[in-house]
Symmetry: C2
């Protein structure tokens, strides 16, 4: 295979607090901001607290999920006094880190998240075959052994991609769990720090002209979303993740495997046909 | 020791959603309310969704922590249009389940909570030497083996007790963790169900005239609260629970044991003198 040559990643944004109650990224960005903006060898690192009002209230968002506001349509919505805070903030962030799809955009936007799911460290990319994302993924996977490292590709077009990471020329979200929202666990924070350090290490190697070997990586994608069983009138959930499935994220789900346990004690099984890898949130 | 004779517990209240994002109790109360109020042999069970607005928003509280609003002083505060929602609601609940300290009060108020701490199943009582609470505790401890069962006594006077359980003639909070706030785990829900069933089983035995043997139980109490290290200006935390202490709730903390790990990597140790049993939230 012919070698692929790509431009350097001179400007990298590290974002936390896109969801205000996912605190590893909030802590990491605060710590980084104490050190001021960093211009280390070969790369300028800009740190951003994405949703400061939600961080202040320790909530996912104030009016609208910020990490669903970066589609081309929402970014070009005219703003009035009644525009939800997060749409205004998304447009500010797009001006700061983008504009999306332009030459002025950050070379890489890395957005830090937590999940209550037993997800390990999961890199989330929007675009198909992004060499940068796949090499960063390989570098993290090779160097982190404490928890599983995976890549989830959403395969969305730039215009349709709604997450903050999609504003950059390249974009990566780093999702780590399990961690309850609203608190910080030292083990999860330390893994996130290591992930970010390894990403920056790879970028420095890349920017200094290192040639990386090709190879194969395993990539996950979203095949299907299954909602909880709900009461048809109140829409309250009527069942929880079955204890045999709980915490078994990314394990293969086969026809007949337990999915949910209803509050009255009945098991609902998977009847989807082909085996499916599961992720419970 | 002479036998102690106590009146029957004819009316029992089971409360959930006192903190709106602690969902095991919310689910259990909803399930129970689907069955309507239950008058089984020897006991009338009343179920209460304590803070419906906070449950609706999946938040701990709207304006003020409801479970700190049941002191004699707050319950007798005059209400105006600007009174926080939870103070109004505390007075409603006091009228429904109390009034606190009166003959009309529920014989037992049991309030259901979750914690992100690795606390196991913990009964929390306000009063010193409450025979009812201690016998229920012993019954649960004898019959639950999946997680540790403990009793925490707060030793507060009825007037000063600020939690909902203090409204009844006898009061017990059941706290189960670890569970992230805002979600339900099947294992935690199932343990809470079992705890409530065992409590009701003991009450039926007690009400039907069973004589229970005396004995000894281990009781925990609050000796000291240690706050996180904080930035003196912003009051943001600057450290997290040390990974060696994380999830080691109720283990003995000795002089020199690690307490916190700062974001910059320094360990802060326990310098309190006497060994202390720890609970991390």
């Amino acid at each position: 295979m012919d070698p692929v040559s790509l431009p350097a990643l001179s400007c990298v944004a590290l974002c936390g607090g896109t969801h205000g109650n996912e605190l590893s990224g909030v802590c990491l960005v605060r710590e980084q901001q104490r050190k001021k903006e960093e211009e280390t060898e070969h790369v300028t690192l800009v740190t951003v607290m994405s949703n400061p009002r939600a961080v202040q209230e320790c909530r996912r968002y104030i009016e609208k999920d910020l990490n669903r506001c970066f589609t081309a349509a929402i970014l070009s919505t005219p703003v009035s006094d009644r525009t939800p805070y997060e749409i205004v903030r998304a447009q500010e962030l797009n001006a700061l880190l983008g504009p999306k799809g332009s030459d002025g955009a950050m070379d890489l936007v890395c957005d830090l998240h937590n999940t209550t799911a037993n997800m390990g460290l999961c890199l989330i990319s929007n675009s198909d075959c992004d060499w940068i994302c796949m090499h960063i993924y390989k570098h993290l996977q090779t160097n982190i052994s404490s928890i599983p490292v995976r890549l989830l590709n959403l395969y969305t077009s730039p215009d349709e991609s709604s997450n903050l990471a999609s504003v950059g020329k390249h974009g990566l979200s780093i999702e780590i769990g399990p961690q309850p929202h609203g608190l910080v666990r030292a083990d999860v924070l330390s893994t996130m720090k290591k992930g970010v350090q390894l990403m920056l290490e790879w970028i420095r190697l890349f920017n200094s002209g290192t040639v990386f070997e090709g190879g194969e990586v395993e990539v996950h994608t979203v095949v299907k979303c299954i909602d909880f069983p709900r009461d048809p009138e109140t829409h309250d959930i009527t069942a929880v993740i079955h204890p045999q499935l709980q915490d078994q994220d990314f394990c293969l789900l086969r026809q007949g495997d337990p999915l949910f346990l209803s509050f009255s004690g009945e098991t609902e099984v998977y009847r989807g046909g082909a085996p499916l890898s599961s992720l419970c949130e």
